[in-house]
Structure formats: C-alpha cells, structure tokens
C-alpha cells in the first residue's frame, strides 16, 4: 500500500480548478497533516485518495497499484451516524465486511471501550454530543482496522476537552499501525499531532516537510503568510 505516490493530480469540476499538477509522496507511518487556506483543496485531496472522487488528470500510485491493497477508512467533519444505537453504528460497519457475529461484537465493544463510549452502548447515536459523535465515528473507522485513516477536520467545532479526547484517540489509532492523513485549521493541533506537514495553496503542494521545520522555517511565501496570519487569499464573489 505504501509508499503512496501522487503524481500530476488534477481535479477540475465544471471549468473550476481545485487541484492542479499536485505531487505528493507519503510513507506508511506517522501522522501527516494537511494545512492550507479554505478552498485550497484539502478535502478534495482526501476524497480523491479515498476514491470518492475521480481525478481529472494524474495518478495515485499505491506502491505500484492503482488501488490500495490495505483497508482505507475516512472520518468526515460531520460524521453521518445512523438512527441506531451506539453499538449498532459500529457493528453494522463490521457486518458489511462479513465475519462472525461474536467476533464483530467483541471488536465493537473493544473499540467503544477505547474511545470511552462503552457505558453508552445501547443509547441512540443521535443523542450524543458533538465530541461523542466524533469519537463514535472514529471508533467505527478504527473497528475496521484501517491501514490508512483519512480525517477531514475531525475536531472542527469541538471544545478543547472534546478536541483533546479526539486527539488522544488519533494517536492511539496511529500506534495501532494506521497511517493517518488529516486536515485541520488548528495550527496548535497540527504541532501536537503531526510528524510532517503538507501545505496546500492554490491547488498544489507548496511544501511537504517535517512539522518542526514547517513551523520554524517555512520555505514558501504562501506558507509564511499563512503562519503569520496574513490574508493574501481572495475568494471571488461571482455575480
């Protein structure tokens, strides 16, 4: 599955250019964080890697294959939880993979315990708080034992304590052997979690460097402006 090589990737829906000529190499361990202004294509890149979107041009090479040969899971900014119990929201994902009922139930209980939701197994997922919903979504992805986990702003709109809980779970999933690629707008979170930073701007990778180097010596003018809180990016309002 790794190394993952992205070459000349472009995504141009309906005369817009979201990504253009994007190159990226990722190893199979650690946490890579994608940073960049809104509209830079962070979420689109995750969706292209997951196969939910098809690229307009370019190639995604999973260690010589067109498709990943390990499991890939994704957690969205607003996870879709079914109107089922907490337990069933994880178990149905395992059921979709097949396998024995007893093993599915054991795995479900295990991951829910690890994300701190074991005491709410029978409650409706729709009644959970925002932080709990995100933990449940992480548990569902984790239950599948992904080799790569894509996280799209997993702590957006969460308070600090819920954010801390989610970050702890992300580290545990990484320790469990999953490569994590995530987007965030939270620079503090990027510094806490990331091994390396992929900085996207204007639809392509401006920098891909270790986290310390990115925050201490950003090389590209766009990254420097981003870190200094400048606002050089303009959103065009179509009339």
């Amino acid at each position: 599955m790794f190394p993952l090589r992205v070459q000349g990737l472009a995504f141009r829906p309906e005369r817009q250019t979201v990504l253009q000529d994007l190159d990226l190499d990722l190893s199979g361990d650690g946490i890579s964080v994608i940073l960049g202004p809104n509209g830079s294509g962070k979420t689109v890149l995750l969706r292209l890697l997951s196969g939910l979107l098809a690229p307009s041009a370019g190639r995604i090479d999973w260690n010589g294959r067109d498709q990943p040969n390990g499991r890939l899971a994704m957690v969205f900014q607003h996870p879709a939880l079914l109107r089922l119990s907490v337990f069933r929201n994880v178990e149905f994902a395992l059921a979709a993979q097949g396998g024995e009922r007893a093993a599915r139930h054991a795995r479900t209980r295990e991951v829910l315990e690890r994300v701190g939701l074991a005491h709410r197994l029978d409650e409706s997922a729709r009644l959970l708080s925002g932080g709990e919903r995100q933990r449940l979504a992480l548990a569902r992805a984790w239950a599948l034992r992904p080799r790569m986990l894509l996280l799209d702003e997993p702590t957006a709109s969460l308070d600090p304590s819920a954010t801390e809980a989610v970050e702890r779970i992300i580290r545990e999933i990484r320790t469990d052997g999953a490569k994590i690629l995530m987007t965030t707008h939270n620079l503090g979170q990027a510094q806490r979690l990331a091994d390396d930073i992929v900085f996207l701007a204007d639809g392509c990778v401006q920098e891909h460097v270790p986290v310390r180097r990115f925050f201490s010596q950003p090389q590209s003018p766009a990254a420097r402006a981003f870190l200094q809180g400048e606002l050089p990016w303009r959103i065009a309002f179509d009339r």
Binding site: G51, M74, A96
Partner: protein, 231 residues
C-alpha cells in the same frame, strides 16, 4: 340547514348502527390498502433512491406523475381486470371489499413510493460517502436507510392514508356501493347527498374528518415520542 346539522350531530352522538358499519368498512379497506401500500411502496421508493440504472430519471418522473393518478381511471382499470371477462374474473372479486382494497392499493403505492424515494434519496446524499467507503452494498444501504428514515417515512404513510380514505371514484366503480357490503364513507356521502339525505352525509363527513385527524394526531404523537427517545 340548522335542523340538518343537529340531525347530523345526533347521528354521530347516538352512534347510529348503519353509520358505524360504514365507518368500520372504510377503516378496514383503507388501512388494509395502506398496509400493503407501505410494504410495496417504501422499499420500491428506497430502492429507486439508492440504485442507479438506465431510465431512472424517467421512472422518477412517471412515479411522481402517478401521485396524481385519477381514482376513476384506477377504478376502470381494476374493473376491467376483475370483471368476468377480465384476467382475474374467475376469482369473483368484483363488487367486494377485496376489490376496493386492490383499487386503493394501486392508488397509494405510487404516492408512498414517490414520497419515500425523495426522503430516502435526501438521506442517501448525506450518507453515501461514508456508507460507500465502509463497503456497505447498495441493497443493504436500502434496508439501513429505510430504518434510519422511519420517522420521516411515516409522512409518506400518512399521505397514503389520506389518499385512500378520501378517495371515492375507484371504490364506487369496483365496490358498487352495495348497502351493508361495500358501502364506505365516501361513497355513502356521495349517494346520500344525491338522495337529499344531507344529515347522514354531514354526519359521515364529520366522522371522516375526525378519523383522519385522530390518525394523524396519533402518528404525530408517536413520532414525537420516538424522536425524544432515539433522536
């Protein structure tokens, strides 16, 4: 006019036996048609919402158009199917409650399927990325989404119930409005009005409206209770 209204109220209050029999048959026919309509319409609508196949767009247009299917047209079609010379004539169902259930089912299935399709498709648009990545097969997604949208789908059932209970043309044609056998509220109202028996017509109308209100109130109450429990 006032006398007629008082007489209508008297018929309702004293629980006229004739009126009670008509109400009971109306409920039996319409609720049976609704049950069959839900069993067919909801899965069909959900399947169209989730599956992709050639001609899907055209099918949705036809399904939506069939929500306005004239009940007399359905009545004529069912009449032809069940009449002695028709393909199902040998079963002798014409002018029976079974024929009325059949006709009302044909009326409510497209309505329930069309509303269900829209409800489930909206949910599918939200869930599709995650369910696809998890590896849920489309047919399994149909089942999951029906369960997930069950409270919203109750609206489709209520729309079907309203259609069935208020319908007069089809049941008149295939039921024959036979006193004590196939006379339901709507056909009785039409008949009694033409005979000038306005008191019974108004009494039946009041009962019909009250029944529909009560069933909707019950469904609304159940929905609120369930939403508080499962969100």
């Amino acid at each position: 006019m006032t006398e007629t209204l008082f007489e209508a109220l008297r018929l309702v209050v004293v629980v006229d036996y004739q009126l009670l029999a008509i109400v009971a048959l109306s409920l039996r026919v319409s609720l049976s048609a609704l049950a069959i309509g839900v069993l067919i319409g909801v899965p069909v609508g959900a399947a169209i919402a989730v599956q992709r196949f050639p001609g899907r767009g055209a099918l949705i247009v036809v399904l939506n158009a069939m929500m306005g299917l004239p009940s007399v047209v359905v009545g004529v079609i069912v009449y032809l199917l069940l009449s002695r010379s028709g393909p199902f004539g040998e079963f002798g169902l014409l002018f029976s409650p079974a024929a009325m259930i059949f006709a009302q089912t044909l009326l409510v299935v497209p309505l329930i399927a069309a509303v269900s399709r829209q409800i489930v498709e909206d949910a599918w648009n939200d869930y599709a990325p995650e369910l696809t990545l998890i590896g849920v097969r489309r047919w399994d997604a149909v089942v999951l989404l029906i369960a997930d949208c069950r409270f919203s789908l109750s609206l489709a059932a209520l729309a079907g119930l309203g259609r069935a209970m208020s319908e007069v043309g089809a049941v008149m044609i295939v039921g024959g409005n036979i006193d004590g056998f196939t006379r339901v509220m709507t056909t009785a109202i039409a008949l009694e009005t033409s005979k000038g028996n306005l008191a019974l017509s108004i009494a039946l109308g009041m009962v019909l409206i009250c029944l529909i209100l009560m069933l909707n109130a019950l469904a609304y109450g159940l929905r609120c209770w369930a939403l508080r429990r499962v969100g």
